[in-house]
């Protein structure tokens, strides 16, 4: 019996305790599959002395090889023939490097089941149609980045009356469509149906500030939402406190704070994290998070900052059951929203991009010059 199925169909999306054994078993099954079908995964298990046939507890799961997202940028690891895989998403590409990740149909169906359950839990799933303002790229055959796909995917949570993109494909290139967005927002203000915006927080903030600067304000119909995903990434310098953004949403679009929802997910960890009413990312049953010491990589207790290791048995087509992101984060338990499971707080990216050293510069040149 595929333990994944039971896990992804579990009634309560945040019942971590009730699903722990199921999670361990699903992870064990996934690890065994990867071991049998992915040479590189098998090699790493052997190198790290991990016995995939002996995974019985969460402590055992923590010992499974953790693959850093960096590793996927240089290696293509498939445990199934590529022609059986449906999507080859690439990460949003903010750092310039792309990962090729493929999903098999069954894994995607589990993903869909998860999205529906989480969407229903957070009341994002709705039969009332709405207008979508998408602060991202209009999907085209040329653009395969994950965001344009997930952004598009989200427009099925509620039936779409319209989809307006901030970056539209025109004459072979993308163009910024700020005027079009403003026009559409004004129209949405007069519509009977709600509006949902989708985009990076930084883009959302940019749009709201621009509207405010131009003195544009309106009250979008009840049920309108600001949905944000993708993190702050290269916009750390412009990062605003979330309260400021919620305040802007209220002033400019008349959307209350409780209707500002954020998502988090990585291509390498396609699990839908959604904020609660207190804007915290609670860990859903499909996933577990282990925070690891920045020097030794050993698990650290809740409340300690470290590297974020995300685990999920969802995907069989690749060994992404335990991945390490480039983020620093901490697990906390004191939310009080009633969801019960602990939540993950992302502190920021590892490294400080702004420090450019003369030695680092020279290395860049050496690479260009060649050995």
């Amino acid at each position: 019996m595929d333990k994944r199925t039971s896990l992804f169909r579990h009634k309560h999306p945040y019942d971590l305790q009730g699903t722990e054994q199921l999670f361990v078993e699903a992870m064990a099954q996934n690890a065994q599959f990867q071991y049998a079908n992915c040479d590189d995964y098998r090699r790493i298990c052997q190198m790290q002395g991990v016995d995939v046939n002996n995974i019985r507890t969460m402590d055992d799961v923590a010992k499974l090889p953790v693959l850093p997202t960096l590793y996927f940028k240089h290696h293509e690891l498939f445990s199934m023939p590529a022609e059986r895989l449906l999507i080859k998403a690439t990460s949003s590409g903010t750092s310039g490097k792309m990962s090729k990740i493929g999903f098999d149909t069954r894994s995607l169906l589990h993903g869909l089941s998860m999205v529906l359950r989480v969407g229903r839990f957070h009341r994002l799933l709705s039969l009332i149609p709405c207008h979508y303002i998408i602060l991202g790229y209009q999907p085209t055959r040329q653009n395969q980045t994950a965001f344009s796909k997930t952004g598009y995917g989200f427009t099925f949570m509620a039936p779409a009356l319209s989809r307006t993109y901030a970056l539209v494909w025109k004459d072979g290139k993308y163009e910024l469509n700020i005027e079009g967005l403003k026009k559409q927002l004004r129209r949405c203000g007069r519509s009977l149906f709600p509006t949902r915006t989708i985009g990076f927080p930084a883009y959302t903030h940019m749009l709201l500030s621009q509207l405010k600067a131009e003195g544009i304000s309106m009250t979008l119909p009840r049920g309108s939402k600001i949905t944000m995903g993708g993190g702050w990434k290269q916009f750390y310098a412009q990062r605003v406190e979330k309260e400021v953004l919620y305040q802007l949403a209220w002033e400019v679009l008349g959307i209350p704070e409780t209707d500002c929802v954020e998502f988090f997910g990585a291509v390498e960890h396609p699990i839908l994290y959604t904020t609660c009413e207190k804007h915290h990312f609670h860990i859903p049953v499909y996933s577990r998070v282990i925070i690891r010491d920045p020097d030794t990589l050993a698990p650290v207790p809740h409340g300690t900052v470290g590297l974020v290791n995300l685990l999920s048995p969802m995907t069989m087509s690749m060994p992404i059951l335990s991945v390490m992101t480039d983020d620093l984060g901490v697990i906390r338990e004191d939310c009080g929203c009633g969801i019960g499971s602990p939540y993950l707080e992302i502190i920021g990216r590892v490294g400080v991009r702004d420090i450019t050293t003369c030695a680092a510069g020279a290395d860049q040149m050496l690479k260009e010059v060649g050995p």
Partner: protein
């Protein structure tokens, strides 16, 4: 903020100042000159006041931000002392008082003149460096236009405006502008006025400066460099400890910081042993320093862990722990380390020094040499022939002493010209 004629202006004054910049410079060149003594006197007073703590409130912040020790600051201040600056001028400019012989009964006098106007395009990786670049320009008698790096902490403009207060004769010789690198129109105007463009930074910055400057303007570039250590198998623990201190102290961020160690061997087992030996030393030395911030440590750990996963392809071995690491590789490529107290160890038998490094000539700077006395001279010679411009003891790779050449050249010579009159 802008500094011109000893006065601070808001950035809006830029266009008005640009309009008269060329005329102002020509007037200054025609009617004024500054002596080395004036510059040295002002620097000496400024250095003394910094040491006395007059600017502590401002300097304290940036010292803390960059983890600069008081010992380092006092070493840096030493460079501003009268003795050091006089020594620097003497070492760099040499003596040209002896006239040039033209004929049996005729000689020609030689004089050193400034280039005229220097535009300094400074890098942001070392605080205070932009101001130092200007002081070098002043020592050669030039008018200096400084374009601040985008991440400037404000320290340069503070130091230079104090300098003008201490020696008003310098006021017309110092301009500081805070224009972004994207404001090409302004930069082109600066470059058009300048006789020389002094650029600090990478190939990109140098290429940009070349494209800015008219073809008859000299471009003097201080580019990015890489430094390393070279060790023979009889390198002492004492030397390795000194090198470890250097790595921990500079966190491998300077051009002169050691990125890794080349070892005089082709034997993998010996190399591994050497790597482990240095790892233990680096680990224990690192324990005496304040740790690198968590985000930087995490980044290095991720890179190294990834390296471990790729061992079967690269053949590299990683020793890591307690915030430091040593990666032993098979290749001999001069490369950047993961920085922040993570270095490489590579094999490089002495006969291979020249072929391995020759192609990297323009990027080579310091080599810390760890060897027995009998090897020091022959190895130094090999390294010098390969293009290294500074060969030091293990712990002195980032030393700064007056009269030192910069990347193999004397800046004051580059900022001036010899005029023959007769």
């Amino acid at each position: 903020m802008i500094l011109a004629h000893g006065q601070l202006h808001e950035d809006v004054a830029l266009s008005a100042l640009l309009e008269t910049l060329e005329a102002d410079c020509i007037r200054t060149i025609a009617s004024q000159s500054i002596t080395q003594e004036q510059v040295i006197g002002a620097c000496e007073t400024l250095g003394r006041r910094i040491a006395e703590g007059v600017y502590d409130r401002l300097l304290g912040q940036f010292m803390a931000g960059f983890d600069i020790s008081a010992a380092h600051l006092s070493a840096a201040l030493q460079l501003f002392s009268r003795e050091s600056l006089q020594y620097k001028c003497r070492m760099e400019l040499g003596d040209i008082t002896e006239p040039l012989r033209y004929d049996v009964d005729r000689t020609i006098r030689r004089h050193r003149y400034p280039l005229g106007v220097l535009l300094h395009i400074a890098a942001g990786n070392v605080d205070g460096l932009p101001a130092y670049s200007v002081i070098e320009g002043l020592l050669a008698g030039n008018i200096n236009i400084l374009k601040l790096p985008s991440a400037d902490s404000g320290i340069s403009i503070l130091l230079l405006s104090e300098l003008c207060k201490l020696e008003p004769a310098l006021a017309d010789f110092i301009y500081v502008f805070d224009v972004p690198s994207t404001d090409l129109a302004s930069l082109q105007q600066f470059a058009a006025v300048a006789d020389g463009v002094v650029v600090w930074g990478g190939d990109e910055a140098v290429a940009a400066a070349r494209s800015l400057a008219p073809v008859n303007t000299r471009v003097i570039s201080w580019g990015h460099k890489l430094s390393f250590a070279y060790a023979t198998l009889d390198a002492t623990d004492e030397d390795l400890t000194a090198l470890a201190h250097h790595i921990c102290e500079t966190r491998q961020l300077l051009c002169s910081s050691c990125q890794g160690i080349y070892v005089d061997t082709a034997d993998r087992t010996i190399l591994e042993g050497f790597g482990r030996r240095f790892f233990e030393i680096l680990r224990s030395v690192n324990a005496t320093y304040s740790p690198v911030p968590i985000g930087l440590r995490a980044k290095a750990t991720l890179q190294l862990y990834n390296e471990e996963l790729e061992q079967h392809i690269t053949g590299n071995t990683v020793c890591r722990g307690d915030g430091v690491s040593v990666t032993v590789t098979e290749d001999r490529n001069l490369a950047l380390s993961c920085l922040f107290r993570n270095c490489w160890v590579k094999p490089l038998p002495r006969e291979q020094i020249l072929p391995a490094l020759k192609g990297k000539k323009g990027y080579l700077q310091t080599c810390g040499l760890l060897c027995g006395e009998h090897d020091r001279l022959p190895l130094s010679d090999r390294l010098a022939r390969a293009g290294v411009v500074r060969i030091t003891k293990a712990g002195e790779m980032s030393r700064t002493i007056a009269g030192e050449a910069h990347d193999g050249e004397y800046p004051l010579q580059a900022y001036s010209r010899i005029v023959e009159i007769g």
